[in-house]
């Protein structure tokens, strides 16, 4: 009862009895809201904290790790580069990621511009086929690509992997860029055309700079995709020195509890950290970009 008295605000002349109770209810709801937020935050953070703790724990096995190791060690991070081929995998992933990003950005920008601004025969049919292709899930093509590459002896090529990735995402990316370019004012092109600029000049000088926000979205998503992609590299890549980070990590953990759990954790942290920071920093771009894709189709 005493606490209730203490919490009661100083009575003011106009306050009705209902008005006096309101602040306490508000205080209670504030506490409840923060309690809920804290619980969800704990559920969200715990697994991530746990893997970081695991990567710093001494010992090797899954049973020995704790989220707050009393004797933290960074030895597993060193092991990653000396005992496993993590460095090799990392470079492979980087190669595919850069290739995939550059190819996707260039092709999506050009094709998006043409579909948005140039009137030509077959445009409608082209856009329809893009829509249909975009529905065809990428992994279905991946399985066919595997059978094809297998029979033609093309397996195990990082460049091949990057080309398949670019082609797989291209219909969606074209659709995205086309929708974005549609919303750029046509008066800009017309003014430049009156000044005698050719279509290539208009594209390079006027449209391309305006496309930058959506191109950034395409660039980030296509750069990060190969780091996380599993099914396509798993099918296309075979030899040990052609593995990507995702494949390497999966093999480390799926070979039934080989005594390298802590090293896996270190590898997972090294893979996750740059991408996580990138996503958090650029969250606005990424969420808007994804929403725009859905609105347009």
């Amino acid at each position: 009862m005493t606490t209730q008295l203490a919490e009661r605000p100083a009575p003011s002349g106009t306050a009705a009895p209902r008005g006096r109770r309101k602040p306490r209810r508000e205080g209670l709801s504030t506490v409840l809201i923060h309690l809920e937020l804290a619980v969800v935050a704990a559920i969200v953070i715990f697994p991530l904290l746990w893997v970081v703790g695991a990567s710093l724990s001494p010992g090797d096995g899954l049973g020995e790790v704790s989220p707050f190791p009393s004797e933290a060690t960074i030895a597993h991070y060193a092991d990653l580069f000396t005992e496993t081929s993590y460095g090799r995998w990392y470079l492979n992933s980087l190669y595919v990621a850069v290739f995939n990003m550059a190819g996707s950005v260039v092709l999506a920008a050009i094709c998006g511009y043409v579909f948005s601004r140039v009137k030509f025969k077959g445009r409608k049919a082209g856009l329809l086929s893009i829509l249909i292709l975009q529905m065809f899930p990428a992994f279905l093509a991946a399985i066919a690509v595997y059978m094809l590459f297998l029979n033609f002896g093309l397996l195990d090529s990082l460049t091949g992997l990057a080309l398949v990735s670019i082609a797989g995402a291209l219909p969606y990316n074209i659709w995205l860029m086309k929708g974005y370019t549609d919303n750029l004012p046509a008066s800009l092109d017309e003014a430049a055309a009156i000044d005698g600029a050719g279509r290539l000049t208009i594209f390079a000088r006027i449209i391309l700079p305006l496309m930058r926000p959506m191109l950034t979205f395409v660039a980030i998503t296509q750069f990060t995709l190969p780091w996380m992609d599993f099914i396509l590299p798993r099918l296309v890549l075979q030899s040990a020195d052609k593995q990507t980070v995702a494949l390497g990590l999966f093999n480390m953990i799926s070979s039934e509890y080989a005594n390298s759990y802590t090293t896996f954790a270190a590898g997972a942290v090294v893979l996750a950290l740059p991408i996580t920071v990138l996503y958090i920093v650029l969250q606005r771009y990424l969420v808007t970009g994804a929403a725009a894709g859905a609105e347009k189709g």
Partner: protein
């Protein structure tokens, strides 16, 4: 009128000439440059066929031994090879590799289709130009033609790199899968050891005719639908709830909370899923251990491997997937909330609407209008989800009633196993078509409702 055409030739003549020998019609129309352009493609086609084939004088022609890229390709596409590898006195004979033949035939067909476009274009050009001349139109030099071509064909030239890439890396594989669905290409018919044959609809029959395949297919399909539906609804609901809470003015440091909640979206899913896999490991994982330590359970729980309790594995998979997917919806709804005009709420408050009524009648409809298309997209992408299930459970726990599938296997992970682990390519191809049919139907239905299709 020195440059008038010699006589009034009917337009049909150059058209027919171009149909027989590409560019001949243009030559009759006295357009040498243009004629050379079309003839180059013709020469390329014939040259390619002869150079890649085994043509010589006095040969006893069969497509199998003499045909080049195009003839042998089409022959292979129809027959899938006629001679299997056999033991002879001189050792193992060279047999036909059915799958290579199938794929080369498909490539030959695609190249022919692309060349056919140029052929039709050439015939129409020859006939059309002559018709225009006969009607008294002006002559056109090849140089002006090329200039006009660049202007008209700008779009095609710019699109061609993307087109070639998509045709050979997406369209070709898709067509290939469709064809494989009608063959018996599997571990019992593996080229180059054995020949593969066309089997018509046998594979479709096998899956739909009430065998163990049917049970597996229907079981996996039902679970896939449940997975996609629950994921979409639950992540939208939780994301909406968190976004509304964060938008509340009483929340201190909303940006900090928001960034924390976004972590599951920002961390690569493969990392999170593999971490959860080890946390829920039955034998060594910390979750089982903790439950035993606290005294809630007597024995360790084998979350993903207990075949007697498949629904436990399914529930945990759904919960973990909710962890992975709610932040995106939270961010999305949060963005919409900041754009809702505050005057709506003021007006509602003046009319005496409670906080819940405001939520129900203002926030929910506005948010729902923006987010609805993404719900379909989310359903489709959950339907096609591979990573979560494969990384967490690899489809387990085992299910004795299923063929090559575990209790948590989704259509896609099952398809992956059929292809990659059990080499039942034909069944995998049929499954691919089924998945495409389902996903395609949903997408088309969604497109018809949206404005995108009308804006084409």
């Amino acid at each position: 009128m020195s440059n008038a055409p010699s006589g009034r030739l009917p337009a049909l003549v150059p058209g027919l000439a171009s149909a027989l020998v590409w560019g001949a019609g243009q030559l009759i129309n006295r357009q040498a440059g243009k004629a050379a352009f079309y003839f180059a493609f013709f020469a390329g086609l014939v040259g390619w066929e002869i150079a890649s084939g085994n043509y010589y004088a006095g040969m006893d022609y069969t497509p199998r031994s003499n045909g080049g890229f195009f003839v042998k390709g089409l022959w292979g596409l129809f027959t899938l090879g006629t001679q299997s590898r056999q033991m002879t006195l001189t050792g193992l004979s060279e047999g036909d590799n059915s799958v290579t033949l199938l794929a080369s035939g498909l490539i030959a067909l695609l190249v022919l289709a692309l060349l056919a476009i140029i052929w039709i274009w050439g015939v129409r050009d020859a006939a059309g130009y002559r018709a225009a001349l006969n009607a008294g139109g002006p002559r056109e030099s090849s140089a002006t033609y090329y200039k006009r071509l660049w202007d008209n064909a700008f779009a095609y030239i710019m699109l061609s790199p993307g087109l070639v890439l998509v045709v050979f890396m997406s369209v070709l594989p898709v067509l290939f899968v469709i064809l494989v669905a009608f063959t018996n290409y599997n571990r019992d018919h593996l080229p180059p050891k054995n020949l593969v044959d066309w089997v018509g609809f046998d594979n479709f029959g096998a899956i739909l005719s009430g065998s163990a395949w049917t049970d597996t297919f229907l079981g996996v399909l039902a679970w896939t639908f449940v997975f996609a539906l629950v994921t979409t609804v639950a992540s939208y609901a939780l994301g909406f709830f968190q976004a509304v809470l964060l938008a509340n003015k009483k929340v201190r440091f909303p940006r900090v909370w928001r960034s924390i909640f976004l972590l599951p979206w920002a961390v690569p899913a493969i990392v999170s899923a593999l971490v959860f896999r080890s946390m829920f490991n039955g034998q060594f994982g910390p979750v089982s251990q903790w439950l035993v330590d606290v005294g809630l359970t007597d024995d360790r729980i084998y979350w993903f491997t207990d075949a007697s309790n498949p629904n436990l594995a399914r529930t945990v998979v759904l919960l973990i997937n909710l962890w992975l997917t709610f932040p995106f919806f939270m961010a999305l709804v949060g963005g919409v909330l900041t754009n809702i005009d505050a005057s709506y709420y003021e007006a509602a408050r003046m009319d005496g609407a409670s906080a819940f009524q405001q939520l129900r009648h203002i926030t929910l409809p506005v948010v729902h209008k923006t987010v609805a298309p993404l719900l379909i997209l989310s359903f489709v992408s959950s339907f096609n989800n591979f990573g979560v299930v494969y990384f967490l459970t690899e489809g387990g726990p085992d299910n004795a009633d299923y063929r090559f599938a575990g209790s948590t296997d989704l259509l896609v992970t099952w398809l992956f196993k059929l292809t990659f682990e059990t080499q039942l390519y034909n069944i995998g191809a049929v499954m691919s078509l089924f998945i495409f049919l389902i996903v395609g139907t949903i997408s088309v239905w969604n497109l018809n409702r949206s404005k995108a299709i009308r804006e084409l």
